[in-house]
């Protein structure tokens, strides 16, 4: 009897507390941001880490009083990496009053690009969508806010050049890629750079689902004898590539992977850090838990009397989620400030994004790139940092770097011209 009474009391307390909390929220000004995740679909290994990172950062900002007196309300929808739920979810977020949305999944980004511009709601898509989405003039409401595949391709070449003694004349570079449009996207950049830098480029396509690449890897190591390998793979493919390259005896310290083949999970799936020793990875958010923002989040959980979530251990994707959220917060803050404290619209937040600078992201503590968004450049400069698998963890190998911006600019302009004429 006494148990049920105490249980009843605890329910009543919870109910009362919820009631109080919601009335408090009612009194406070609110700003809504939408985020899309894929918690049960094909890319859940990424999203189930990245989305908690996004939420945790928003919660951190809220625990410190929100943005300029506004409490952030995050409306998450799970799109399962499918277009119809993505479209429906976006409309739901719009209904809830979202002034910016964080989109997830290339097909969903593609499907919503026109709608964002019509609704005047900025949408971010780090690591998704197309390279030409960086062109703010063509796509005013699309914000890739992270290095595109073009930028990553350029960075791969620059990194190879640095490792191979500052010149690529007469060298051989292998491009190992997942055979889909995303995998092929960097090809024009690589081909262009092959001409100007004078290296020999050979491409090796890996067909879906990307778990069979023995022949390609053998070719790279023994017939083509590549001096460097740039790998652009997804899903299970990166871990398979590590294993196969290791098996044929190709040194992993001559391999650099794009951002979707660079998480702790990829290294672990390949057989652990011992196997992947030397493997280089590109990152568009810092790796590790030593940044100020990670410590702040742990502090926040401790203050609430909770354990930090286990997702925090997978720092590659978690930190990407944090930086992603931080960009939204900065944009919303800029928008509220520009409006003199009044409720901003999607259009205001778009302008807020376009005035994000490196300085705004400094408080995070180096986890975010020193990027600057402008009305023309929604990519923010294509900053990438390279980390290497070394002694059981991912160790920073370069500082934040940009590569061949002039070449990229030329290609962006050419593509815009092609689309316009």
């Amino acid at each position: 009897m006494s148990i049920s009474v105490s249980r009843f009391l605890s329910y009543a307390l919870v109910a009362a507390a919820t009631g109080v909390a919601s009335t408090a929220a009612w009194a406070q000004k609110e700003i809504v941001v939408g985020v899309q995740c894929d918690r049960v679909g094909p890319t859940q290994t990424v999203s189930t880490i990245m989305c908690p990172g996004f939420h945790d950062y928003m919660a951190l900002v809220n625990s410190r009083g929100g943005i300029e007196g506004y409490k952030i309300r995050v409306v998450e929808i799970d799109n399962e990496y499918k277009v119809p739920p993505g479209v429906e979810g976006y409309e739901r977020q719009k209904k809830e009053g979202a002034v910016s949305v964080a989109l997830y999944g290339t097909p969903i980004v593609a499907a919503l690009t026109q709608r964002l511009a019509e609704d005047k709601i900025p949408g971010t898509s780090p690591g998704f969508g197309t390279a030409v989405g960086a062109d703010g003039k063509r796509y005013p409401y699309s914000f890739p806010i992270a290095a595109s595949y073009w930028s990553q391709g350029a960075m791969g070449v620059k990194f190879a050049k640095d490792r191979l003694g500052g010149s690529l004349k007469g060298k051989k570079i292998a491009y190992l890629f997942y055979d889909n449009p995303a995998g092929k996207e960097p090809l024009p950049i690589l081909e262009d750079l092959a001409k100007s830098e004078g290296f020999e480029l050979k491409t090796f396509a890996v067909p879906a689902p990307g778990v069979e690449m023995g022949a390609q890897v053998l070719d790279i190591a023994q017939r083509f004898r590549a001096d460097f390998v740039i790998a652009h793979l997804f899903g299970r493919a990166p871990s398979v590539s590590i294993k196969e390259l290791k098996r044929v005896g190709y040194p992993l310290s001559k391999v650099i992977s794009f951002v979707w083949g660079s998480a702790e999970a990829d290294v672990e799936a390949a057989g652990g850090y011992g196997v992947a020793e030397g493997y280089y990875t590109m990152q568009f958010a810092g790796v590790g838990s030593d940044y100020a923002v990670n410590k702040d989040i742990i502090e926040m959980y401790k203050a609430q009397g909770k354990q930090p979530p286990k997702e925090m251990a997978s720092t590659v994707y978690y930190n990407r989620g944090v930086v992603w959220a931080a960009m939204h917060v900065v944009a919303m803050r800029n928008a509220i400030k520009a409006k003199g404290g009044a409720q901003p619209t999607g259009e205001d937040v778009k302008k807020g994004f376009e005035s994000v600078t490196a300085k705004d992201l400094e408080p995070l503590g180096g986890v975010a790139p020193p990027l600057a968004l402008t009305p023309e450049d929604h990519e923010g400069g294509g900053w990438v940092q390279v980390f290497q698998v070394k002694g059981g963890k991912l160790v920073k190998a370069t500082e934040w770097t940009q590569a061949y911006r002039d070449v990229l600019k030329k290609h962006l302009e050419a593509d815009a011209k092609k689309a316009g004429g």
Partner: protein, 362 residues
């Protein structure tokens, strides 16, 4: 659709094949037509514009799914030929229309039938194996069709056009009027959904439709009574693919982009799920299946979120909600199919039959 007399009194073939079995059916159709035409205005009057917009966007997705499900049901439900390549035929339509719309600046009333016809052509080609093989073997052959078409779109820049195999198209317009908002697109899609439903209803009661059903029920017998099996099987593939192509075009115009990832094999499976849940060989079943498969995840999410947030913070249950949705969706489909293997359409018929003689059941 909604009426039946209290027994079966048909004495002529003409009566059996009539589109309107009873005079009152015309009135029902008129009421339904009026309701769907007025719906956006009613929604607009009842709630804020953003909410109305949201519900219309769901209906628009359902509309697109209905056209695709009708097409697949003609092939799988009526003709008994299985196909796992439906999404690929959608992509053929989508890319045909997108290329025509962007390169030659053609309006939707040319690109839409063109997309459908192109898909019909490719569909008939992919359907050729059906002349020799049946069942699971045919399923694998159409699966090959799906993969070949996907591969072709990815590897031929002339088809896939722009960056990452996607082509942006302008929104459809007619005589200077642009279909842009969800409300405007609602009417744009409604027109084609109505057309597709009427066309399918008429198709299945025609000579062609009867031939399809004869082939499904027993192909040797069908051949003996004089049905040219080769011709009708290929025709079924062509007609079904035409619908798929039109679905792809509608999708492209609705989203403003043709992107290859919208038409991958999972989409084919989704459409198969729609017609199996809705009811094979039934027009109403296709419609119900499309509605069910589109709405169910939304409804489950809504229910779980509403219940969950009574006790927990949203952020804590976010992950649970997604998984509960997937589990419930799967469970419900199993439950439905165990309860009524012939789908929602049969369930609806059972209900109707019960009331046909109610309260004087014998």
């Amino acid at each position: 659709m909604f009426h039946r007399e209290s027994g079966i009194f048909k004495t002529t073939y003409a009566a059996d094949m009539a589109l309107y079995p009873l005079p009152i059916a015309k009135a029902t159709v008129a009421v339904i037509a009026a309701a769907v035409v007025l719906l956006p205005f009613v929604l607009g009057a009842l709630m804020p514009a953003l909410s109305a917009n949201y519900y219309l966007s769901i209906i628009n997705l359902i509309f697109i799914a209905i056209v695709g499900a009708l097409g697949l049901n003609i092939l799988v439900g009526y003709t008994g030929q299985i196909s796992i390549g439906h999404a690929a035929f959608m992509s053929v339509g989508a890319y045909t229309a997108a290329n025509l719309a962007v390169r030659w600046d053609l309006p939707f009333w040319i690109t839409l039938p063109a997309g459908g016809l192109m898909a019909a052509l490719i569909g008939a080609v992919v359907g050729i194996p059906s002349l020799r093989i049946k069942g699971l073997y045919l399923a694998i052959a159409t699966l090959a069709g799906q993969l070949i078409i996907e591969w072709t779109i990815n590897h031929v820049p002339a088809i896939s056009g722009g960056a990452q195999a996607s082509i942006e198209v302008p929104k459809p317009h007619l005589f200077g009027y642009e279909f842009k908002t969800q409300g405007q697109l609602y009417f744009f899609l409604l027109f084609f959904v109505a057309l597709a439903i009427v066309a399918t209803l008429n198709l299945v009661r025609s000579r062609i439709g009867r031939a399809f059903v004869a082939i499904r029920d027993q192909d040797i017998a069908a051949e003996i009574i004089g049905i040219n099996i080769y011709r009708y099987k290929l025709l079924a593939f062509a007609i079904s693919s035409f619908y798929a192509g039109v679905t792809g075009v509608l999708y492209t115009y609705y989203l403003g982009i043709a992107n290859y990832e919208q038409f991958q094999i999972v989409v084919s499976i989704d459409y198969l799920a729609m017609i199996i849940i809705g009811g094979l060989g039934s027009v109403l079943g296709s419609v119900l299946g499309a509605i069910f498969v589109t709405l169910l995840p939304i409804a489950i999410t809504w229910i779980v979120e509403s219940l969950g947030t009574l006790v927990f913070e949203m952020q804590q249950i976010q992950h649970v909600v997604s998984n509960v949705r997937v589990i419930t969706f799967g469970l419900l489909i199993i439950v439905f199919l165990v309860l009524e293997p012939e789908g929602l359409n049969r369930l609806w018929r059972n209900i109707r039959n019960y009331f046909r003689v109610w309260p004087f059941s014998y």
